[in-house]
Subunit: 300 residues, 2 copies
């Protein structure tokens, strides 16, 4: 079995690393803070003191980090993956970062004879724990085939989208669709409420027709219950929408809907609601319609 | 069995009336143009010369008309339903009209001791033919129970949403969600294409995660194929969005997303594309991104 080094043991990374460990892979871990490393060490993982040390002791290096700068630093920085890697290493990045950054990393690693896959995931911390993530992969077919047994430990719906960066493009598309569908459901359920009609009945009726979506089902229910524990935090979705709009600008495509919904997320972040689930979008519509005060609190 | 009078034998109404006839209901029909009346007469329906004559010969009057003015004229106008109705008549309107108009008609009919249901449908001409429509119903429980056996002949997902007008509110909510989800899918698939990534692979990957929707499945496929034969025509969806925005103004709720996507529909109508399926929304994004000329035609 390939020896895996895992960097980034956050809400997503830790359960993903744990699943690889449970599947029997020799695992070396590194994280900025110490606690999750020791947690996994108690379950059998080895500890490394830097990304370079991870690369020295592994055949495959996997990262799961918050954003582009962190991934660049971990891969290209001092004591980074490249500093410790041998030719033949496979690098898999599960972070959601800009497609342009992913392509830049692919090229930098190619020069060192390191194969890379951009492999962002969707499905949240529950998907990470249960090993049911969707994984969108960019990179060569050979690298994809080599990675597949490991990806199948962490996810279920695994699609090889295309060449370097294609996984990140697919993830950007995913975030556009989720954001606009959340907005759609927030508008519909608030319209029902303001019209004196039971939003729960409307959700139920709409699930049976062309308005059906997983967001109407899951986020719609969260909106009805006013239950906004994440899930997927608004400030992370806002970060991803920044990637979307930057990418759209680079390819010269005006994404009117994505731009608007990003501004609505900005408003929610300005109100200090960034740690809520993205279903909290409905809070803004309830404010706009005068159903709650601007502090997001009490019903009138 | 109740004697049914059916007014409005268009793309939706004709197959719905036919299904009632096949189920054994005595059926009297009226339509502005003669041809569909004679088609159903050949299958066993009786013909009436006015909405009033329909009402005189029926226990239940069903309408399926394009918009609010047509329904008002057919019900309240000279030789209209009210002119010919006896007390105890049940009136079911399957048209998509403004909730405010539906409530006004309920009241006007109540004064004549006629019970009314607003019962807009979703599911398109294919759903009408196959008897698989979603039907969203507003009105009293007694009227709903009386109508249910007939509704079950025409539809499958039949939900009693609430009091008078509630069915139309649910339909308005439905049209908001469908419109914004179509926009979401159009933005995502164009972003993929402009980024040099196969939109078909992106659609396939996204169907396995939180971006899943019936619109991504059905309309997404239509967008990939550039196949815009309706389906649901853009100019009808635009008409429904007019109802949405009017209703939202009446209840004082700013629907930012619904307003934006309605303007995009206006642009498509201005280009003469109103008879295409609403999936043709992607045509506009392809124009915005410079992938087609403004005439909507050839690829560059």
């Amino acid at each position: 079995m390939e020896r895996i080094g895992f960097i980034g043991l956050g809400l997503m990374g830790k359960p993903m690393a744990r699943n690889l460990l449970k599947a029997g892979y020799p695992l070396l871990v590194y994280n900025r803070s110490r606690a999750p490393m020791e947690e996994l060490a108690a379950e059998g993982a080895g500890l490394a003191e830097s990304p370079a040390a991870i690369a020295q002791g592994s055949d495959v290096v996997i990262t799961c980090l918050p954003d582009s700068p962190e991934v660049e630093a971990v891969v290209l920085g001092e004591d980074g993956v490249v500093a410790g890697a041998r030719s033949g290493l496979l690098f898999i990045d599960h972070s959601t970062i800009a497609p342009a950054t992913a392509r830049k990393l692919h090229l930098a690693l190619q020069h060192k004879e390191i194969e890379a896959l951009d492999a962002p995931v969707s499905g949240g911390d529950i998907g990470a724990q249960q090993g049911t993530l969707s994984i969108m992969v960019g990179g060569s077919e050979a690298a994809f085939q080599r990675a597949l047994p490991m990806l199948q430990v962490m996810g279920q719906n695994i699609v090889h989208i295309g060449a370097a960066g294609a996984g990140q493009v697919a993830k950007a598309c995913n975030q556009v669709v989720v954001a606009l569908t959340v907005q759609a459901v927030a508008e519909a359920l608030t319209l029902a409420q303001k019209s004196g009609v039971d939003p729960a009945k409307v959700r139920s009726a709409l699930l049976g027709g062309f308005a059906q979506s997983r967001v109407l089902d899951v986020h719609g229910q969260r909106m009805l219950e006013g239950r906004f524990d994440p899930g997927f935090k608004l400030h992370l979705h806002r970060k991803d929408m920044g990637i979307v709009l930057q990418t759209a600008r680079e390819v010269q495509l005006p994404l009117l809907g994505a731009a608007q919904v990003t501004e609505l997320m900005n408003a929610l972040l300005a109100q200090g609601l960034g740690d809520l689930d993205n279903a909290a979008m409905i809070t803004l519509y309830r404010q706009l319609g005068g159903l709650v005060d601007a502090a997001g609190g009490s019903d009138k």
